[in-house]
């Protein structure tokens, strides 16, 4: 799977790692950003998906 990018919320800095997903919100590990539902909001600041940008943290996700 190539779903290994890392995205950052511009407003609050919260990180979405595709490799990790967001199991608490039923977003499975490996879920690509484009497959996160459009009505999803940032858990830390509540902003919409459109307020995220991609952060380059190497090619290997966050390396957890």
């Amino acid at each position: 799977m190539s779903a290994n990018k890392v995205w950052q919320c511009i407003t609050c800095g919260w990180i979405y790692s595709e490799a990790e997903g967001l199991p608490d919100e039923d977003i499975a590990p490996g879920t690509a950003w484009e497959d996160v539902p459009e009505d999803w909001c940032c858990p830390d600041c509540g902003m919409d998906k459109s307020d995220f940008t991609m952060v380059e943290v190497g090619s290997n996700g966050l390396g957890f």
Partner: protein
Amino acid sequence: MTAPCIIIGASHAAAQLSLNVRQQGWQGDIIVIGQESFLPYQRPPLSKTFLSGEKTVEDLLIKPESAYEKANVSFRLNTQVVEIDRQNKTVTLNNGDMLEYAKLALCTGATANPLPILGANLKGVHYLRNAHDAIALKSDISSKKHAVIIGGGFIGLEAAAALRQKAMHVTILEAQDAILQRVVSPEVAAFFTQLHESFGVVIRPNSIATSFEGSEAVTAVTCNNGEKIPADVVIIGIGVTPETRLAEQSGLTVKNGIFVNEFAQTNDPDIVAAGDCASYFHEIYQTDIRIESIQNALEQSKSAAASMNNKQIAFSSNIPRFWSDQYDIKLQICGVIDGYDAVEIEQDLEKRVLNALYFRKEKLIAAIAVNNPAWLTKVQPFIKNGEPVNNELIESMRQK
């Protein structure tokens, strides 16, 4: 027909709660009652980009009006709830109307602490809690004018950064030995002191404002040492008090906030509370706390919405998170920096590096990062899971 779900307050907690209650299955009406005149808007920008930029409050709405229409959530704005009758399950509004509720949510937030000294009503003296305050303050901003900010907390520091960007002269009066005393450790406070000084802000520790001078508009602030500091604009940022009046009046448990359980329920099972107004027992820190942050308001609201639908989502072991923007810096804090017995810190102001780990009895309890969100994300599970911290984690903060 069942009575509606009523939400008091129309801000971050209420916006989330109202939509969540519907999402989680509430069939009846949902009514949000707010005393401000706007639909829920984002408060964080008020001390940041709103002051230095061109946005209007309408640009800051948390959700467009259509989102509430779609969820069939109705608003009564410019309306205050003045009383709750728990026996009869009604609320009374300031226009005399009485509404029945099946479930009630208190999302009343917090109010800026007043500074009741001589001259506090002069033109040019501002608070910074709501859009009304921010609009008034913004109209007073102009380059070369002098601003005196009372209180070196996050709101004061963010406002200082925004006003410096507008080329104002800025002085911060801090009553304690250093800024940010209440929230971070001395090293971090020193980092932010130097940051602000490097942008030309004057920080005066141990300075207490005793009166404001001027006949119509403020012209100076007098300090406890007798000194008068010229001021065209004053911002008072000396903390907030949770809005608990309705809860107290109706006999709900209040402990530095409306006290709720892990499901955001008050001691009345039909009444929930969420956001800045609510306090709770934190499972990991084993203490009663009240958190003032967006993330806290959002998470408690999700729990509260579940409770209103007779479901259970616990929030009380979630790790609090907070951010602050000042100049080119984004500060992020996770955890509660209180009662630590060891600190690991890496800092370099020039390079904009500040990473800190706080420990109690060898367990990680909090972390701070500047412009380093990926690292903070990596650190968080150690707090949440109470895992012992290895050298690798500490080294990771040095490698930045």
